[in-house]
């Protein structure tokens, strides 16, 4: 059952993308539904299997590694898979409105969307370094295609910058892969750990791969491309970019770091990564504070929030793992909600310049509400998913007596509060300014509802963390201290 389900989880959207290319027009809506909606149901089989066996190996074509490529599903990848499926399906609700399948835009959008989805699923499952490269390229290309789908100059420019950097990043990664292969003669992520000792070549290879992935995941100071790309893309695209696309690279770094290089002494490097994360938190928040466009603020917020994920490296304990994974989840939900809400506001008002959004809460209360709820989770205020993550981070830091990280995590929320409340203040609190009615464009409620569902899930994540966290702690990497 599991093999079949996993195969469909990857290939059904891909086939749907093909069908969407083959039969544009009236059937597109149904094709998309068929490609997306069965996925949550299909996820059940792998979920049960993981709960039962913890780790599932699937040798593709019947050839186990090192000969062939394996898919490997463990709790962490299961979480990523669920996250991807859930968020994509929810954002698709929104995209179904903003990129109607029967429109020309929709026909350009949906195939890429489905491919992006399928490729992220494939990425999460893959256990092969080179296969990861291919999937990562697929993710990148599809993502950039989606960024540029409306061909606005800013989006084009952002997409171009992203593309160049992503290509460079892939090259670094590939160089690392080549070196690893040269050293070990295998490409399986979980086999290389047994094969190599941390000599300087393997370390360099690992470093190259990780730097490449850091570029792709826009970790400070390699973040330069992100705000423009995320801030100028169409709403659903920004949402998935921030919620998932940058995350999968970080996920890959985790894999390399904790599984591939298990048993290496990486303390210094880990602290460096943590420092990068800290810088990202501070810089991203400060930059968000001075932006004058809503989507740019949200985009810079992503830069900042990605920093938390980097704290896993210095902390590296069960708690930290739970924290980072949960942050992945709650930030994904919250940020998707915020981007969708921002996109609704943007398309309703015609601009997302902050000064001109005063009073938009009257016009689009649901969106503003979703924005605020998402913001609460981003702030890490209770009771939200973000709070759970923050709490776990703090606990992890406390247990390791890592006071610096502790203070950072605790204070990071304040920085986030600064820019989020600025946004809310401007939007809600200009009693005498009224929006120009002429510019107002109606958007279907479904678009707002999608944002709201995501935002509410981000909050609700604060209450239902127990199963997720116990799942995560069942799939810890070999090198992590309990």
């Amino acid at each position: 059952m599991t093999a079949e389900a996993l195969a469909l989880i990857v290939f059904l959207p891909l086939l749907a993308a093909c069908a969407a290319v083959a039969f544009p027009g009236r059937w597109l809506g149904w094709i998309v539904r068929i490609g997306l909606l069965p996925l949550p149901v299909l996820m059940l089989a792998p979920t049960l299997a993981v709960l039962d066996q913890n780790v599932i190996h699937l040798a593709l074509a019947g050839h186990a590694s090192p000969l062939g490529i394996e898919w490997r599903l463990d709790p962490l990848s299961l979480l990523m898979l669920w996250l991807n499926v859930g968020i994509t399906v929810l954002i698709s609700l929104h995209a179904g409105v903003s990129f109607r399948p029967d429109s020309d835009r929709g026909q350009r959008f949906w195939p890429l969307w489905l491919i992006l989805f399928a490729s992220m699923n494939a990425l999460v499952l893959s256990a092969d370094l080179f296969n990861l490269y291919v999937t990562l390229e697929l993710v990148t290309l599809a993502a950039i295609g989606l960024i540029a789908v409306e061909s606005k100059p800013a989006a084009l420019r952002a997409g171009m910058r992203y593309l160049l950097l992503a290509l460079m990043a892939s090259l670094l990664y590939l160089l690392g892969v080549g070196l690893i292969y040269g050293q070990t003669g295998t490409l399986d992520l979980y086999l290389i750990a047994e094969q190599i000792e941390p000599g300087w070549l393997p370390v360099t290879a690992m470093a190259l791969m990780i730097v490449g992935l850091l570029i792709k995941s826009a970790v400070f100071p390699l973040h330069a491309w992100l705000p423009a790309a995320h801030g100028n893309a169409p709403g659903p695209v920004s949402a998935i970019l921030s919620a998932m696309v940058v995350k999968v690279s970080i996920y890959m770094i985790w894999r390399l770091w904790f599984w591939g290089a298990a048993g290496w002494d990486l303390a210094t490097a880990a602290n460096l990564m943590g420092l990068l994360g800290a810088a990202a938190i501070v810089y991203g928040s400060l930059a968000a504070l001075v932006q004058d466009r809503l989507k740019m603020i949200v985009a810079y917020s992503t830069v900042a929030q990605l920093g938390y994920l980097m704290l896993l490296f210095p902390l590296a304990s069960t708690l930290a793992f739970q924290a980072a994974s949960y942050h992945l989840l709650s930030h994904g939900l919250a940020k998707a909600a915020m981007f969708l809400a921002a996109a609704n506001i943007l398309s309703s008002v015609g601009t997302d310049r902050l000064q001109r959004l005063a009073g938009v809460d009257q016009r689009r209360p649901l969106d503003v509400f979703a924005l605020a709820l998402g913001g609460v989770s981003i702030l890490g205020l209770p009771p939200s998913g973000g709070f759970v993550a923050k709490w776990l981070f703090l606990e992890a830091a406390w247990h390791q007596q890592a006071w610096g990280w502790l203070v950072l995590v605790a204070a990071g929320g304040l920085l986030a509060a600064a820019y989020l409340f600025r946004v809310l203040g401007v939007i809600c609190l200009h009693p005498r300014k009224r929006l120009n009615r002429r510019q107002h464009r109606e958007i279907p409620n479904l678009a707002s509802v999608a944002a709201l569902i995501l935002a509410v899930s981000a909050i609700a994540a604060g209450f239902f963390s127990a199963p997720v966290l116990s799942l995560i702690s069942a799939g810890l990497p070999p090198g992590v201290t309990p």
Partner: protein, 104 residues
């Protein structure tokens, strides 16, 4: 030093040239050249640095590089299309951004 070493050296220099070009070039097409050059350098390394298997060259890196070439071609073609489109929209084929803060 044998011929493979020579090619590895060439790959190193090519990589340097690619990096140099990437930094120095303003025009996007040149940046693409640079990236492709870097890519080729890495492909050479990939093939050259993996030892032979039973006398014959190891087929796996070659297969990987073949895949890599396809991906590079795809990305380049798309990047060119993107560049042309950007040029049509903005009259610039560079990334020297003038108006980054467009209304998204």
């Amino acid at each position: 030093m044998d011929s493979l070493g020579l090619y590895v050296l060439a790959a190193a220099v090519l990589f340097g040239v690619g990096v140099y070009g990437l930094i120095v070039s303003e025009h996007l097409m040149r940046k693409l050249f640079a990236i492709n050059i870097m890519g080729n350098a890495i492909f050479i390394l990939l093939v050259a640095a993996s030892g032979p298997v039973e006398g014959a060259p190891d087929p796996v890196p070659q297969a990987l590089v073949l895949t890599g070439i396809v991906i590079a071609v795809s990305a380049t073609a798309f990047a060119l299309a993107l560049m042309v489109r950007l040029y049509q929209e903005t009259g610039q084929a560079t990334l020297s951004s003038r108006d980054e803060g467009d209304d998204g």
